[in-house]
């Protein structure tokens, strides 16, 4: 339908092709009006991203971040005990629900840090994360999730 070289044009613009490959594509582009036109559109649309406003970090963000991290990382004893019970429940529940939950992330450290509930072991080992964690409030949603079969979460993941 369109020139098959089109998929390489972004990497060409980004200078991320091997030198030989880039040279080959450059010669193709010289002779292909369609690629020239599309390359121009890619470039202009990427340049247009400059119109996104500059990011200004809100004043005092760092202070709030630090205060929040230190405050929310303190876990009172009773909360820790409650967390232990909750974690055990969650663990049991998840163990009986294969296939429920987001796609696993390879790095367990990050899986934990990002709150990915597929890491049951991490949940049990890191009770303090349950203090304010999605996982408990997600239980209702996860239960409803079963009824939403056929919903494509991240369709593009399969495609790569």
């Amino acid at each position: 339908m369109y020139c098959e070289e089109r998929d390489n044009l972004a990497a060409f613009l980004d200078g991320e092709l091997e030198p030989g490959e880039a040279e080959r594509l450059r010669r193709h582009i010289e002779g292909c009006a369609e690629c020239r036109e599309y390359l121009a559109l890619l470039k202009r649309s990427y340049d247009a991203l400059e119109y996104v406003e500059p990011v200004e970090v809100p004043e005092g963000l760092g202070t709030r971040v630090l205060a929040g991290a230190r405050k929310r990382s303190r876990v009172p004893m009773f909360a820790a005990a409650a967390g232990l019970v909750a974690a055990a429940l969650v663990f049991t529940w998840l163990s009986t629900k294969p296939g429920v939950g987001p796609a696993p992330v390879e790095d367990p450290q990050v899986a934990w840090a990002a709150g990915l509930t597929g890491e049951e072991q991490g949940v049990v080992e890191n009770m303090d994360i349950l203090e304010d964690y999605d996982i408990l409030s997600d239980l209702d949603l996860l239960a409803q999730y079963d009824t939403l079969a056929g919903f494509e979460e991240f369709p593009e993941i399969e495609a790569i």
Binding site: R6, D7, N8, L9, A10, A11, D14, E16, Y38, L41, L42, R44, S45, Y46, A48, L49, Y51, V52, E53, V55, V57, P58, L61, G62, R64, V65, L66, G68, A69, R70, R72, S73, P102, V105, E106, D107, Q109, V110, W112, A113, A114, G115, L116, N126, D128, I129, D134, L141, Q144, Y145, L148, F151, E153, F154, P155, E156, I157, A159, I160
Partner: protein, 203 residues
């Protein structure tokens, strides 16, 4: 992927995280100072809302703080922080969608609600006049919001954070070929979303 890259040993930020895990609380202050702009900026570009960006940024650093006892320097600190940030961004969209699924049963959502909800549709009124900067920003943000989640993550890291394909592959725990494909598709969506405005001379 090179999770345990040798460069992490000499990286000053990674060293700060080591000091923090060894008990130096002040090292964490410096980590926040060094990364708040990158974290907030990445989330803001991805999600398109300042309030959500602040909340997510808080969460990123909270999760990093809680690694105090479990942290292992398997990657540069910047890679780890971008990884937590982008995973939270992806979760944010997933949760938004799920919330919407449950409440509205909208099965056709394309992941752009976070941005779509924040942008008024005021295009048609003002075709002939030159578009103001704010309006151009809205057009562009709306186009960004239409890009599928993982493609958008790759695009934000590349365009706004200046990461190379290899750097993005590290953050997203995939390979360079997959990043090339994500970015190619991200930029194709962007081009199609902006084509009419570019051809009309609005951008």
């Amino acid at each position: 992927m090179n999770g345990g890259s040798p460069s992490s040993a000499a990286d000053p930020d990674t060293q700060l995280m080591r000091e923090f895990t060894a008990g130096n609380e002040e090292a964490f202050d410096r980590i926040v100072k060094n990364f708040e702009h990158r974290v907030y900026g990445t989330i803001y570009r991805y999600v398109g809302s300042r309030a959500a960006a602040e909340d997510c940024a808080q969460e990123v650093f909270l999760r990093l703080y809680r690694m105090k006892k479990t942290y292992k320097p398997t990657a540069r600190l910047s890679t780890l922080i971008y990884r937590i940030t982008t995973n939270l961004c992806l979760n944010f969209i997933r949760d938004e969608r799920r919330r919407r699924m449950v409440s509205l049963d909208d099965r056709k959502n394309d992941g752009s609600i976070a941005i779509g909800a924040l942008i008024r549709d005021e295009r048609a009124e003002d075709v002939s006049a030159a578009l103001e900067a704010r309006e151009r920003a809205e057009i562009v943000r709306r186009a960004l919001g239409r890009i599928l989640p993982r493609q958008r993550v790759a695009l934000v890291l590349h365009r706004f954070e200046g990461l190379s394909y290899a750097g993005i592959a590290d953050v997203m725990e995939t390979n360079v070929a997959a990043v090339k494909s994500l970015l190619s598709r991200a930029r194709a969506s962007l081009a199609e979303a902006l084509r009419a405005d570019i051809e009309a001379g609005n951008l």
